[in-house]
């Protein structure tokens, strides 16, 4: 086994995990919302990007931005339909409703794009970089850099800006926030759009690494769930650390044991970790 190569692979896989999980971290942690359509939104964003890329003949950045905008609009529609459940913080119903949304997205995507696997070619994924015995692609670097930048931006947004305080106040008590003159419904729409945009960014970055299928999404929502729970709900820095660690674990487990059992191993780690620390990386 090439140790440094696996470490690099792990960091790239991990930044992908962290990137896919970021939207959910904010959604669950900062706004106390759940979205089990997260994985299917990832799938849909990837397919929209792929479709525009192959049919419209535009460049990768243009297709990526178009996909992100389309997902933002979808986010608005989804949030508006769920508004009453959200305002009453009815998490159980939201779980079921978003799960339903996920199946609707999956079915629609199946009808539109078919069931065959496709590859999103970005150009960057073909450009390989070799340093000694280690190699990676330009797409890998892009994923790593964008993930780190997004995490930094989101952390600053939540902790250092008035908008961040507003999001956190609505998360704590949407009704009380109204007395501060805050339109809690509008804030929820904004946060959900942020979730949709972030999942779309992660999709257009990470999906080119693997073939895309309209049936995918389950794996993404599960790893996201693990990252968010282990990171400590609402802990942005924790999600980044856990995402990276999980990627490195996946790379080494795949190389040393077997890639087939990676998902099961991830859950074993999560269970063990949560028994010791029920709050994940959260200190409180």
């Amino acid at each position: 086994m090439n140790f440094s190569q696996q470490a690099i692979n792990g960091l790239v896989i991990g930044s992908g995990y962290a990137c896919v999980a970021l939207g959910w971290t904010i959604l669950l942690g900062a706004a106390r919302l759940v979205n089990f359509a997260h994985g299917q939104m990832y799938m849909l964003a990837a397919f929209i990007c792929w479709f525009i890329l192959t049919r419209a003949g535009v460049s990768y950045p243009v297709a990526a931005v178009a996909s992100i905008v389309a997902m933002a609009l979808l986010g608005v529609v989804m949030q508006l339909t769920m508004n009453r459940l959200v305002m009453t913080q009815n998490l159980t119903s939201l779980m079921i409703v978003t799960l339903g949304f996920g199946y609707i997205l999956q079915g629609s995507a199946g009808l539109l794009f078919g069931g065959a696997p496709h590859t999103m070619t970005t150009g960057l994924a073909q450009k390989q970089i070799r340093i000694g015995e280690v190699w990676f692609t330009q797409q890998d670097i892009l994923i790593l850099v964008v993930t780190l930048v997004l995490y930094a931006v989101i952390w600053l947004l939540l902790k250092r800006t008035r908008q961040g305080s507003i999001i956190r106040s609505v998360a704590e008590d949407p009704k009380l926030a109204q007395l501060f003159g805050i339109d809690s419904r509008a804030v929820y729409v904004g946060v959900f759009v942020l979730e949709a945009v972030l999942v779309a960014i992660s999709a257009v970055l990470v999906a080119p690494r693997t073939p895309i299928l309209t049936s995918m999404g389950f794996e993404e929502v599960i790893t996201t769930f693990v990252v968010v729970v282990l990171g400590g709900i609402g802990n942005v820095a924790g999600a980044l650390i856990v995402g990276m660690a999980l990627g490195v674990f996946t790379a080494f487990f795949g190389a040393l044991v077997s890639p087939a059992y990676t998902t099961a191993a991830i859950f074993a780690v999560m269970l063990a970790f949560l028994i010791v620390r029920p709050g994940g990386l959260n200190t409180r």
């Binding site: 008035r162 305080s165 507003i166 956190r168 106040s169 704590e172 008590d173 009704k175 009380l176 926030a177 109204q178 007395l179 501060f180 003159g181 805050i182 339109d183 809690s184």
Partner: protein, 243 residues
């Protein structure tokens, strides 16, 4: 003189049970108006409905007027932005935000007419504890400090009228007088205040007028000095003692 805040035959109904019947209340400029009544008389229900901030989803009838404009159809955040500032009983600050973050959430409305504007410095002068505790989270504050923070953010918003629900509940006796004295100071600057408080004796010391609420009905209204000698108030709240 027209009132800054008025309720016109305000009715609040939860399903079949009527919580408040046809309430008529006026709060004029420079007036401190108290609403007294036993537990369950509907005091909080009434004041929350004025702010558009009812618990559950009651049927609210009648009108709420702010400077003569009907605001009955507005959501709570819109009423807040228009200068109807409500400080509710119980949880009224964000525990996970620091004192500074709580205060920074507030934005003054653009329409300055009729607003009582308070700068950050003035609010700190009224409640110096807020400055000392500015980096502490809301959950780390004492009951009195939370009350000060909640009132502080209401003042920073540039209120036209202030609603206070049980400002003295859970406060040490020394603090009750302090908080009510600050309220009186604001009223003397012109800010109209509607206060609901179980501590009728303390409120009567500082208020101008008092409405007596019994089982959802307003059964009495008068100046504080006249209501102090009202039989029902004496019997129910002042233990029959007179000065």
């Amino acid at each position: 003189m027209t009132a800054v805040l008025s309720a016109r035959s305000l009715g609040i109904r939860y399903g079949g049970s009527i919580a408040v019947h046809d309430a008529v209340i006026d709060v004029g400029a420079g007036r401190m108006v108290a609403v007294a009544g036993a537990n369950g008389a509907g005091k909080s229900t009434l004041v929350n409905a004025l702010a558009g901030w009812s618990r559950g989803s009651p049927t609210v009838s009648g009108e709420v007027l702010l400077n003569g404009q009907n605001i009955s159809g507005l959501a709570a955040h819109e009423r807040s932005r228009r200068g109807l500032q409500h400080v509710p009983e119980g949880k009224n600050v964000f525990g996970e935000l620091t004192v500074d973050e709580n205060l920074n959430l507030v934005r003054k409305g653009d329409d300055a007419a009729g607003r009582y504007l308070f700068s950050r410095e003035e609010v700190i002068n009224l409640f110096p504890r807020l400055h000392e505790r500015r980096t502490h989270k809301g959950s780390a504050l004492s009951g009195g400090e939370r009350q000060m923070l909640a009132m502080g953010r209401a003042l920073l918003a540039g209120p036209r009228v202030l609603l206070l629900d049980e400002p003295s509940v859970g406060l040490a006796p020394r603090l009750i007088g302090e908080v009510l004295a600050v309220v009186r100071l604001l009223v003397d600057r012109g800010l109209p205040v509607l206060v609901v408080d179980q501590n009728v004796r303390a409120v009567l010391e500082v208020a101008d007028e008092l409405y007596l609420l019994e089982r959802g009905r307003i059964v009495g209204h008068g100046s504080a000095s006249s209501m102090r000698h009202d039989d029902r108030i004496m019997k129910a709240y002042l233990g029959g003692l007179t000065e």
